[in-house]
Symmetry: C2
Subunit: 240 residues, 2 copies
């Protein structure tokens, strides 16, 4: 497990709750959340075009017309799914790296910083219930989407990425700006592929490694990326 100065996931409203498999007549907002949960699950598996409103409604246990009632067009439903948990990830991560930077002070290390940054997505995917696993896979697919994926990632996640890069600059003060951005780019690719848990690694390794072993994945990623950042950010690391 990654061990930064960040708290374990705690109970919190809406997005942090598990989903009942069928619609309950209970609290207001339940129907809306059920639709979001169903859409999240299906979008994460089949992509935007691979899911129909009918399928979402059926999995949520509600009528088709209700999906339109709550979210309007299909694309608005997708955006609502994406936004819901992005806010949690982002506030968790910004808080974690700020807190780490403050507490570590001059002893700040690249490994510590990356561990703090990566803690939230890994922890939620591990312990947040199936919705968070679906969301992680959805982000993985979106990051690789050449049409609207880059734009969505920019909109929801760039502020957090910029804050990370600012703090990395303190640890690697001699680094050039572009080296840091390319370093982050490589980290982002590794992270989102991992969050997708596609199972390829399991087959490639003959079962020796498991895509779902996010504890191992997190530790490997911290060390891999920290060394990678140092290698591309060192002075004279690249002829201009």
């Amino acid at each position: 497990m990654i061990k930064p100065d960040a708290p374990a996931p705690a109970a919190a409203p809406s997005a942090r709750r598990g989903r009942p498999s069928k619609k309950q007549a209970g609290a207001p907002g339940d129907t809306r959340e059920s639709i979001l949960d169903a859409a999240e699950d299906l979008f994460s598996k089949h992509g935007f075009y691979g899911v129909t409103i009918r399928e979402v409604a059926r999995e949520a246990g509600v009528d088709t017309a209700l999906v339109h009632y709550y979210f309007g067009a299909k694309r608005a439903l997708f955006d609502a799914v994406f936004l819901r948990r992005a806010e949690v990830w982002n506030s968790d991560r910004v808080n974690a790296i700020n807190r780490y930077a403050e507490s570590a002070g001059a002893d700040m290390t690249l490994e510590g910083l990356l561990a703090a940054f990566l803690h939230s997505p890994f922890e939620w995917a591990l312990k947040g219930g199936p919705g968070w696993k679906h969301y992680a896979a959805l982000v993985a697919q979106t990051n690789a989407n050449p049409m609207f994926g880059g734009e969505i990632m920019t909109r929801y996640f760039d502020p957090t990425a910029r804050r990370l890069i600012e703090l990395i600059k303190r640890v690697l003060p001699e680094a050039r700006e572009q080296d840091l951005y390319w370093g982050y780019h490589n980290l982002s690719g590794a992270l989102t592929l991992t969050l997708g848990e596609t199972g390829r690694l399991d087959r490639l390794s003959g079962g020796l490694c498991r895509s779902g072993d996010l504890d191992a994945a997190g530790e490997y990623m911290v060390r891999f990326a920290a060394a990678g950042f140092r290698a591309v950010c060192g002075p004279g690391s690249r002829p201009d």
Copy 2:
């Protein structure tokens, strides 16, 4: 530019040629190739479910029924698109790393090996014409797909990945098997995100870095991944 002991792309049959924008009455096989080119372009942008047979036929300048005549079901068309250039990438890469390992002998370095491995996809995406760019983006999306993506990547690319890992083992003889597989996993994520050219990096960096600058991307990736492999493969690198 990555400089391994590998040749630049050379003219070769079928998959290596650019596509005429409209169907030509010319050589036999032209219709089939036009359909593959159109499907490759559209699948890479919108994914499997985001493309209709009618759109493929229209972009290829042929009749809808011809798509079924040549490829049968839609999924068979997708597989044919994926297979076509996978064979080129794979033979290029296996030849490149084998040739590098033989010529370098005991002087083999991790950087040299990774440069040889990465040369073919980057070089084709840079100089192979639009079809190769589309293919690169298609692989990027497929690698992140949790339903059939992992399986397809396994089927088409694992033999090549295994050969790379064998050779890395010679450079890092003390590495544990699982360390090598997780290292490759991180490299694969970085590589496919790069090949997707989603434009996110351009916005994140305020224009300082460009997704399409594959020359820079390749150099950064070689150094980032080589350092990353060393960090996760060193002796005592991870408590068991």
